[in-house]
């Protein structure tokens, strides 16, 4: 056990910083506070990610067989920390590089890998995630959208909800029921321009482009669009979720927001002892989240991270986000309530969703209780 960075890692971080300093121009600074699913950020990401790809910074952690550089998960994570701190200029494309791509690598056919991984590593394709439904949120296996086999095709009917990025996405990583058993689910890599798909945005407090309803009315899917064997989508989902749940170093933006709020208080001469106490406490929560996240990355660098460690990191991240969001509201309500520091509002919007997206915190607590403490199974564990 040691907590240092290798020279190579330190250089890699500097390289990312230098790249961002060069390519995140004033245009980005203006749109960074917008939602990752907004038209402006999505469009920026399609110009920015190809540059990242060209610099070898988009998918270095992918195997060379899939166009990566066989870099360690640490190399990828260092990039993620710097990008997230900068407001995540990859927009929705972080999905692709963090978890959709790796899941297709594991379960995809050569043709699926060739096409989809090729698009992702070029950095110009947007995906959405068709998981949650009105009947299945935290209880994902309760989903009702069905894919009926009709000859060599499937006919999909049902609806998804809370789907981020759906309006601008080219593809959906879609879960649909293909049998009567609770967990008989299949995964489809479905083009979003398919006839019968309707996307309706949901206005929300988390930002433009983040929440949608998606309706499937007799939508056809080809057998070649199914990911993995029919009916065995649950194991695909579990694999994907383990990548998804710690794809985002959210504490990096939280810490940056904390520093901005403190800087504002110092400039106003208002950073008194009580505020210092609260700020230091919020910082310690972020650092706790960082260390638990690092543990997951460390485990991933040696294979697959444990569910327990992944859930602990998720819970810690949510607590860290809340600590910072509360600090901002308690001490700098003027920043929250004005356009003076737009990143403060951005952080709040992202923090409020952090405990819900990718499995509610309470589901993570179920998993910790079951997998780490060996306490009797709860539903959802």
């Amino acid at each position: 056990m040691e907590f240092g960075w290798t020279d190579e890692q330190a250089v890699a971080r500097e390289n990312v910083r230098a790249f961002l300093a060069e390519h995140l121009t004033s245009e980005w600074q203006e749109i960074a506070p917008l939602s990752p699913g907004s038209e402006a950020v999505t469009s920026f990401s399609k110009r920015f990610c190809p540059k990242l790809a060209e610099a070898g910074l988009l998918v270095p952690h992918w195997p060379s067989a899939h166009g990566g550089a066989d870099a360690s998960p640490w190399a990828h994570f260092i990039i993620g920390e710097q990008l997230w701190e900068a407001g995540e200029p990859r927009g929705p494309q972080y999905y692709n590089v963090n978890w959709i791509g790796p899941t297709i690598m594991k379960y995809g056919t050569p043709a699926q890998q060739d096409y989809h991984l090729g698009r992702m590593r070029r950095g110009d394709v947007i995906w959405c995630q068709g998981f949650s439904e009105p009947s299945g949120g935290s209880d994902l296996a309760a989903l009702r959208t069905r894919a009926e086999r009709v000859g060599d095709r499937y006919r999909i009917n049902g609806s998804k909800i809370w789907t981020s990025y759906a309006r601008l996405a080219e593809f959906c990583f879609l879960l649909a029921r293909t049998g009567s058993d609770r967990r008989t689910i299949s995964v489809f890599l479905l083009p979003m321009d398919r006839k019968g798909i309707e996307v309706r945005p949901i206005e929300s407090v988390v930002g433009e482009g983040d929440l949608h309803e998606v309706f499937f009315d007799d939508v056809e899917a080809l057998e070649s669009e199914r990911l993995g064997p029919e009916g065995e989508g649950w194991s695909v989902v579990r694999y994907a979720l383990n990548y998804e749940r710690v794809g985002i170093p959210r504490y990096a933006l939280a810490l940056k927001t904390l520093h901005r709020a403190v800087a504002a208080l110092i400039s106003e001469g208002a950073f008194d002892a009580v505020a210092q106490d609260a700020a230091a406490s919020a910082c310690s929560m972020c650092e706790a989240a960082r260390m638990l996240t690092y543990e997951v990355v460390d485990q991933r660098s040696k294979g697959s991270p444990s569910t327990g460690a992944t859930s602990m990191a998720r819970v810690a991240i949510v607590q860290a986000e809340r600590s910072v969001a509360d600090f901002v509201l308690d001490w700098t309500p003027h920043l929250f309530g004005s356009a003076e520091q737009p990143m403060v509002a951005t952080h709040h919007k992202r923090a409020i969703a952090a405990g819900i997206a990718a499995g509610a915190s309470e589901i993570q607590l179920n998993l910790i209780a079951r997998d780490i403490l060996g306490l009797g199974g709860s539903r959802g564990a």
Partner: protein
């Protein structure tokens, strides 16, 4: 960044594990407020564990691992100051007591060969004589004594050494608190698995599962932050780890006692051997407020 133990660290922890086996449970018939074990300290000394910071390839990180592991046992021995601070002061042998002011109780002072006193004049170090202190009786699960007067021959230490001793003291508190929390949590988890109410183990109730799951996450974070602070051996990280640990102790202590019911209030049940050390550590070195203030100064400057 490598969060698995190295082969040498594994060997170290395996040797320690063997040594601690007799101390993993409270002695039979133990009904004391604290369980200090000279034999545990002796065994650690004979095993060379107190010299760990000077060992080839080892340093404060391995000392923190040792402190955390020993603290997870219900039986106590002075380990933190002997491993992290004694090498700085050039003293060895008897326990080292850290006193956070004249007239205030200090842990292990009644059996210390050396006392390091954080005083308004700086850090003073010397050998306490029996007339210098009085034993305290309390529910705290540490042997406590109060330094009534300044022992003769106390030597004021240079500022950089004082800073290093203070930093290592915070790292020691963080590591020890992490181990105490782990021990208390393990005891409580076992209790809720065994204890039946309403026809099922307490462990089946989600209200209990969630709180203990939160605690497990916090305890693990404490451990990693304490180890990181030891590895980098910096004042900022020491403040941060100590702040987090002293902050986390509050909820953990409450939860462990709450789920142990009235059993947790008795001396025959060992929970207090962890929690009543942890309670004391909550306020050590000025408590979480002091560490928060120090961390804020490290992060945002003294003028903040």
């Amino acid at each position: 960044m490598e969060l698995e133990l190295s082969p040498d660290q594994k060997l170290l922890m395996s040797a320690l594990d063997g040594l601690l086996a007799p101390y993993r449970s409270a002695p039979t018939g133990a009904h004391g407020y604290f369980e200090y074990s000279e034999s545990l300290r002796q065994a650690l000394a004979e095993g060379g564990f107190f010299d760990i910071v000077g060992e080839q390839g080892f340093g404060p990180l391995e000392a923190a691992m040792l402190i955390e592991e020993v603290a997870s046992c219900p039986v106590d021995a002075e380990v933190a100051a002997s491993t992290l601070i004694a090498p700085l002061l050039g003293c060895d042998g008897a326990p080292v007591a850290l006193a956070w002011g004249l007239g205030r109780p200090a842990r292990y002072l009644d059996r210390a060969g050396t006392v390091a006193l954080f005083h308004e004049n700086g850090l003073l170090v010397g050998a306490p004589a029996p007339d210098d202190w009085r034993t305290e009786t309390s529910v705290v699960a540490y042997p406590l004594a109060t330094l009534c007067r300044l022992p003769e021959g106390m030597v004021r230490q240079p500022a950089d050494l004082a800073e290093a001793v203070h930093r290592r003291a915070l790292i020691g508190i963080a590591a020890e608190a992490a181990g105490l929390m782990r021990g208390a949590l393990q005891q409580t988890v076992q209790y809720v698995k065994d204890r039946q109410q309403f026809g099922q183990p307490l462990a089946q109730f989600q209200a209990i599962q969630h709180r203990l799951a939160e605690d497990a996450q916090t305890v693990h974070a404490c451990r990693l932050l304490a180890f990181r602070a030891a590895y980098v051996d910096s004042a900022k990280e020491a403040s941060l780890a100590c702040l987090y640990a002293q902050q986390a102790a509050r909820k953990l202590i409450y939860d462990c006692h709450q789920f142990s019911g009235a059993m947790g209030l008795t001396l025959e049940y060992p929970l207090h051997l962890w929690t009543y050390r942890l309670k004391y550590l909550q306020g050590e070195a000025g408590g979480r407020g002091k560490q928060a203030s120090a961390l804020a100064a490290h992060l945002w400057g003294e003028t903040s």
